[in-house]
């Protein structure tokens, strides 16, 4: 291959789309490293602290799409203190200096300030797409800067961010000359936007295919918008409260009928059951339906709707759909690939909404199912074994039994055998979340059979260090391991220290790991950052020098080329 001119090698590399493949070819020889790095257009950084931003830009000066992730996954559940880190600014600054041709930026779980958004808006003349997922630290002022300065912006996608509302004018900052928007998602914003400005914006952006509104947008406004955007493929509605005999509602039905390209629906906050009839005409074309923010819809109404949705591939619902509702899904949605069932009654006294029966029904009806997130009140081994047999194609399997450590209610046994069946049957399993009563045995199975597993989430499980060791020694493709409230201690942590350099990160909280154990790990493995995160309450009480026997409340370990980070807050010790 080295006899070929570089242009040919580069052309061959063009066919490699995955980051992993490109990473691998770059290690073959110096020539390939050079060709690859100069031709790389899309860079993915899974942990923002694994490498310095400047280094990334220096190595890949031609970067057009940059994707960076910050906080560990458990930050979604408030387990990571608020100002732990994950700042976007250094990345945007480095890109502004090193890759001014940047076109797309995707950030997940990072702290993005208005200042960084302003810098972003001014630094990249070809900027086309901004995707922020689960980020925080910015306000609508930052969005105003993006709208104002990013000429030719195609995509502004804000998913589940915490955005401070500084007023409605940001949307009006899109100049009249802006006609390039193809995707606009501001569903997570709490404040109002200027409805008139929005209607004019969508009217002039003729290529708009994806529009996700926030709760503040009324049905009246939605009807007017839909009339101007009949080619929409994805729609997130705003608030869906309207008297179903009202004129606005009639106009809405009429507008929906014109939208022949709609394939994805979400939103539906506050929707009243009767209003769902307005979308019956679209249902037969739907491939994606997200009703997980519509708690007012009960099982029976959901079922009526779903009977129309026979092309559905992705369904997100609340557990008030019930086992019976899931049976209807199973018989109607034969193309279903992804199902998420969220809990609707977290604070209540648990009237069982979905159980193992619903899951078994789904598995027998939907043979193409490959991705599952299922919150339920109970699960049995028999059910899991049946599911494993019916659906061997799972790549993502996340089961959350709401009661931690709950056994199989029929047999009072742990759920080891059930999960064991899943990992044995699903050879392509990449992501797994466990729950219920589990002993070390389940980890023995996981270590032995889950060869492709990349991410494992453990909570309230296991008996001893052996459990964690089975996983570390067994799962050769493991990248992320997150554990909470499980009896794994120093012996497990230190059993296979080399493993952590093959992984992106390890999170352990409320386990039995001690400060001494963390120090030992840090000493043995200098290319890991071992972060000990102290809860605020503890820091005040703690002595100056806690003993090594002191159990660590939260520990985050990750491989890094950048050494200890210099932006850690005082409650984080990097050993």
């Amino acid at each position: 291959m080295t006899y070929f001119p570089e242009e040919v090698v580069e052309h061959i590399f063009d066919f490699l789309s995955s980051h992993r493949d490109r990473n691998i070819v770059s290690t073959v020889c110096k020539a390939w490293y050079r060709v690859e790095r100069l031709s790389r257009r899309s860079v993915f950084v899974g942990n923002c602290y694994a490498v310095r931003p400047g280094r990334v830009m220096a190595r890949f000066p031609g970067t057009k799409c940059l994707s960076v992730k910050g906080k560990p996954h458990f930050a979604d559940f408030n387990l990571v203190p608020h100002d732990w880190g994950g700042f976007a600014l250094p990345w945007i600054e480095a890109a502004a200096r090193g890759c001014p041709g940047l076109e797309e930026l995707r950030l997940k779980r990072m702290v993005v300030s208005d200042e960084s958004l302003e810098l972003l808006a001014r630094s990249f003349p070809n900027f086309k797409a901004l995707v922020l997922v689960s980020c925080e630290g910015f306000s609508t002022d930052g969005l105003a800067a993006i709208a104002t300065h990013c000429r030719g912006l195609r995509e502004l996608d804000l998913q589940e961010n915490e955005v401070e509302d500084h007023g409605r004018q940001w949307l009006s900052c899109f100049p009249d000359s802006c006609t390039s928007l193809e995707s606009l998602n501001f569903a997570c914003l709490k404040g109002e936007v200027n409805a008139g400005a929005l209607e004019r914006l969508v009217a002039r952006c003729v290529n708009l295919r994806s529009l996700k509104l926030n709760r503040a947008i009324s049905v009246e406004s939605l009807a007017r918008i839909l009339v101007r955007t009949p080619h929409l493929v994805e729609l997130g509605t705003g608030s869906f409260t309207v008297e179903h005999r009202a004129e606005a509602y009639q106009r809405l039905i009429h507008a929906f009928r014109k939208c022949k390209s709609l394939k994805s629906l979400s939103g539906f906050w506050d929707v009243a059951p009767r209003c769902l009839q307005s979308i019956y005409s679209i249902c037969p074309n739907l491939t994606v339906l997200n009703l997980s923010y519509a708690p007012a819809i009960q099982g029976a109404d959901l079922v009526k709707l779903i009977r129309h949705c026979f092309k559905l591939q992705k369904l997100w619902v609340l557990d008030c759909i019930g086992d019976k509702g899931l049976a209807v899904v199973a018989s109607t949605c034969k193309e279903l690939q992804e199902l998420r069932v969220f809990p609707s009654d977290i604070y209540g006294t648990g009237t069982a909404a979905v159980t193992e029966e619903g899951l078994v029904a789904i598995s027998s009806g939907c043979s193409k199912l490959n991705s599952l997130l299922y919150f339920c009140h109970q699960m049995t081994n028999a059910a899991l074994i049946t599911v494993a047999k019916n659906c061997p194609h799972f790549t993502r399997f996340r089961l959350c039994i709401l009661d931690p450590g709950k056994p199989d209610p029929d047999t009072n046994q742990p759920l080891d055998e059930g999960f064991g069946a899943i990992v044995r049957s699903c050879n392509d399993l990449r992501r797994l979340s466990l729950s219920g009563l589990l002993t070390d045995t389940v980890f023995l199975y996981i270590g032995e059979y889950a060869a492709r597993l990349e991410m494992l989430s453990i909570a309230f499980a296991g008996d001893s260090d052996k459990g964690m060791v089975y996983v570390l020694n067994g799962c050769k493709n493991l990248r992320k391991l997150e554990i909470r409230d499980s009896p794994f201690g120093d012996a497990a942590l230190l059993e296979n220290v080399g493993k952590y350099e093959t992984m992106r990160s390890l999170w352990m909280s409320s386990c039995d790991v001690t400060l001494g154990g963390c120090k030992a790990l840090a000493a043995k493995m200098p290319r890991l950052n071992v972060e000990v995160i102290n809860d605020r309450v503890e820091s005040d009480e703690m002595e100056e020098n806690p003993s090594d026997m002191h159990k660590v409340e939260k520990m985050y370990v990750y491989r890094t080329l950048a050494g200890a980070r210099n932006d850690a807050p005082e409650f984080v010790d990097i050993l």
Partner: protein, 179 residues
């Protein structure tokens, strides 16, 4: 569970008014587990399974179940809706205003929103040339609770407030200061 209405109001509970059926507020288990022994830790999961009481009565660990805050808030909203579909309408009076208003306390998410709404409603009645913002220095928002006492709005958690508020009154500065 089905008694509701008046019986519920007179029921003795350990909970604060306005909280859910669970007598315990969500406990932060993580703050105490640091002192756990190994045995406690191992039996932690076991103890949970042995306890057959309603899930609501158990202490809830931080970050469990693993659901994002935006969804948790959605659940909270639904819980309130299913408990009582009608709004909580209370009269609002302001000294010197020719008529009273009524507000539905359920539609606000907190004190700030309530203050803003009252400000919008009563601004036109502000006396003198200076527009006094309702709730700031010169006015006090008070409410009559179930015991018939006039309380200052803002001291107690929002949900406790809306379950015990019978009517609102915006007091002018001088009266609010007890002069």
């Amino acid at each position: 569970m089905e008694d509701l209405d008046n019986l519920k109001a007179t029921e003795l509970t350990l909970g604060l008014p306005g909280t859910s059926d669970a007598p315990e507020k969500p406990a932060t288990v993580s703050s105490r587990v640091n002192r756990r022994t190994n045995e406690e830790c191992c039996t932690f999961a076991r103890n949970r399974s042995e306890d057959t009481a309603a899930p609501a009565a158990k202490a809830r660990a931080v970050g469990w179940p693993p659901v994002r805050s935006s969804r948790m808030n959605s659940c909270r909203a639904r819980k309130m809706e299913t408990e009582d579909n009608s709004g909580i309408y209370v009269k609002v009076s302001m000294d010197g205003a020719p008529y009273l208003r009524k507000v539905d306390l359920r539609i606000y998410n907190g004190y700030k929103e309530l203050r803003n709404a009252l400000d919008d409603m009563f601004r036109c009645f502000s006396l003198g040339g200076v527009e006094a913002h309702i709730g700031e220095s010169d006015n006090a928002i008070t409410y009559e609770d179930r015991d018939g006492d006039w309380m200052l709005v803002g001291d107690v958690p929002w949900e406790m407030f809306i379950s015990s508020c019978k009517r609102l009154r915006i007091m002018k500065g001088s009266e609010a200061r007890g002069q």
